[in-house]
């Protein structure tokens, strides 16, 4: 906790977030749940999002991950439990309300316009203008410079911010979306499966930016179904399964093996290992690997 009041350097804009001390809880959820009529989509989920920490939300498809982030992002209101933001009880009624509290969500589709230049995408909806009245115009120079410097602060070196964002790789686009949220004052970043559609190398790039965002003192919620992506960058792990929490663990209490086993559901994985051993031979690489994961 030594990095108190670490300020984000090299930006002339005033809305840059000066983070609270590392480890301060920004969001706390207590026994939160969501019911749609008589269908219980999520129940009894507790965890916290802290400044300068990455909270990983893990779970298979249909485990309730998206319901959980929709509650945090303001897309759905929770029906049970408590959502505390800065210690105060909140119900987020819209994405706008979440944004105003500094909670920004980077969705899988990234909310970028492929044909528009990177810098126009970066400032879309929050364009900087200069001049007044009918002569008010975009401050293109400032926006281009800022885009370039903000992206290089995240470690992305673009040769030209004028190129359409559609020409960037999936990982780079993800990073632009993250950098944009950070620049516009997010203190909590919710990343919805940012690595799901990416290759190994691209995933590595995104994980690096998650670590960067953490370094800058942001609270990060990282949703994924891949424990190998979650473990290296995560500080806290919350596992979901069939709409229920399987627990909320600090990194110290958990090894990657524990995490992998819990994710897959120990017994299920074991039976899969057996099955594979039968069909592909016990010596096949994949069966060996699964066995190693289970034990």
């Amino acid at each position: 906790m030594s990095n108190d009041n670490e300020t984000v350097a090299a930006s002339p804009v005033t809305n840059v977030y000066a983070p609270p001390p590392r480890g301060t809880a920004i969001i706390e959820v207590r026994d939160i749940g969501k019911r749609y009529g008589n269908i219980i989509a999520l129940s009894d989920v507790s965890t916290s999002v802290r400044a300068g920490e990455v909270t990983c939300v893990l779970g298979d498809n249909g485990a309730g991950k998206s319901t959980f982030i929709k509650i945090l992002a303001g897309a759905h209101e929770h029906t049970d439990g408590q959502l505390l933001i800065d210690g105060e009880d909140h119900t987020l009624s819209s994405p706008r309300a979440a944004l105003e509290l500094g909670i920004a969500t980077v969705y899988q589709d990234l909310a970028v316009v492929p044909l528009m230049p990177v810098w126009r995408n970066f400032f879309l909806g929050s364009e900087i203008t200069k001049g007044a009245g009918p002569l008010k115009k975009l401050d293109i120079d400032f926006m281009k410079r800022t885009t370039k410097s903000e992206l290089s602060a995240m470690g992305i070196d673009l040769r030209d911010v004028e190129q359409p964002i559609g020409t960037l790789s999936g990982g780079e686009r993800q990073c632009v979306a993250i950098a944009r949220a950070v620049y516009f004052g997010a203190r909590v970043l919710i990343l919805d499966e940012p690595t799901a559609a990416l290759g190994v190398k691209q995933s590595g790039v995104v994980l690096k930016y998650i670590a960067k965002a953490r370094e800058r003192g942001l609270g990060v919620v990282f949703i994924t179904h891949n424990p190998h992506h979650a473990y290296p960058v995560g500080d806290r792990f919350m596992l979901l399964r069939r709409g229920k929490s399987m627990g909320d663990f600090p990194k110290a209490d958990l090894t990657l093996e524990d995490l992998t086993a819990m994710m897959a559901g120990g017994e299920e994985l074991e039976s899969l290992a057996h099955e594979l051993a039968e069909t592909m031979g016990a010596d096949s690489a994949i069966a060996q690997e699964l066995k190693a994961d289970v034990t």
Binding site: P95, R96, L99, Y107, D109, L110, A111, V112, V113, P114, L115, M116, R120, F123, L124, G125, S126, E127, T129, K136, K137, L138, I140, R159, D160, P164, G166, T167, L168, S169, G170
Partner: protein
């Protein structure tokens, strides 16, 4: 291969020429130059001052509409009622002044108000129902066409409004919308060194008010598109509507505003037509809506939205104006114009699609 060579490739890719060639309007500009050269060399009348006056005037009213339609197409929508609107607004002024003796300026304002209202209705219907604008404005098109024809006949007993010159203060409005600047600089000739161009100044170069409006509208639209927040939003709502909404772009306002802009341009052209010719036919503008779209597409607009240029649409209209008049000067059958438009449209669509794929493909 090392990273150094990779970097070299990257730099080479963004040369000035490539940048210029990437502009959406470049195709239309080149085509306009080629077509001008063709008719200038093959016909006698085309490049004369009086000949140029004619095709400039033809291009101007189409051009104003094409620019507005281009903005709307960049915003991801169509407006098929745009052509009928040019007739409707003129008829409103004609009927109000000739039949009911309304003050001409009041009639012009009422006409503008009605146009903007219809534009807003188009926009709200499209946004609220989620129906394609193609269908919604097709409906408005037929409604307007019906009102233009039946309404005019019912109120005046005729299919056209004539004798606008007798309306009080007609001259005032004509000065704004229907006047012309005649230039006849007898001394002006071009000496290109290897050849001398002696223009035939026996008849003047006539620049209609509509040409000035056209240039003004194009400049304004380009400014808005490239230099203002609104322009940014127009590109974004056309390129990715859901993403725009997520990021906080006022999608509804932007799109309704675009439909109102097209309707407003329809009003402007309606005024330009009525005060240039002092008459208005009840079928004015019908069938032109596709010409506007063709000009916008030739100018680089994608049918799918999110990409295009206002200047490009103006070039598109210039091409249309030059070809429709050039065919007359060349003594060909007028109907070749249609075939030519079709070829231009197909060529432009193919070119634009290629450009879009290049821009969207991840490297």
């Amino acid at each position: 291969m090392t990273t150094a060579t990779l970097d070299d490739e990257r730099i080479a890719r963004t040369s000035t020429l490539t940048k210029l060639l990437k502009r959406p309007e470049i195709g239309a500009l080149v085509a306009a130059i080629v077509i001008f050269a063709f008719f200038a060399l093959t016909t006698d009348a085309f490049a004369t001052p009086s000949g140029s006056s004619t095709w400039l005037r033809g291009a101007s009213t189409i051009g104003i509409m094409a620019v507005a339609v281009a903005l709307l197409m960049i915003g991801g929508e169509f407006d098929l009622s745009a052509g009928a609107m040019t007739g409707f607004t003129g008829l409103v002024v004609g009927v109000l002044t000739r039949e009911y003796g309304v003050n001409i300026w009041a009639a012009i304002l009422v006409s503008l108000g009605l146009a903007l209202l219809i534009g807003a209705i188009n926009g709200v219907l499209v946004m609220r129902t989620g129906l394609p604008s193609f269908i919604v404005t097709l409906g408005t098109f037929f409604v307007l066409q019906g009102i233009d024809l039946a309404g005019t006949k019912a109120l005046t007993g005729q299919v056209a409004i004539q004798g606008m010159t007798q309306v009080p203060f007609y001259d005032q409005a004509k000065r704004v919308f229907g006047s012309a600047l005649e230039v006849q600089p007898h001394w002006f000739n071009l000496n290109l060194g290897f050849m001398r161009l002696d223009f035939d100044w026996s008849r003047p170069l006539t620049i209609n008010a509509s040409v000035f409006w056209w240039v003004g509208v194009t400049a304004l639209a380009t400014w808005v598109l490239l230099r203002t927040r609104t322009g940014n939003w127009i590109f974004s709502v056309g390129g990715a509507q859901t993403a725009s909404r997520q990021i906080g772009v006022p999608v509804f306002k932007t799109k309704v505003g675009l439909f109102m802009t097209t309707a407003g341009a329809g009003w402007l052209v309606g005024m330009l037509l009525i005060f240039t010719t002092s008459t208005v036919q009840s079928n004015t503008g019908v069938g032109q809506e596709f010409i506007y779209i063709i000009c916008a597409v030739v100018g680089g607009c994608l049918m799918t939205g999110g990409y295009g240029s206002a200047i490009g649409a103006a070039f598109g209209a210039l091409i249309y104006g030059m070809v429709s008049q050039g065919i007359v000067y060349a003594g060909w059958d007028n109907n070749w114009l249609k075939a030519f438009l079709g070829v231009m449209l197909l060529g432009a669509v193919l070119l634009n699609e290629w450009v879009r794929k290049r821009a969207e493909t991840a490297k």
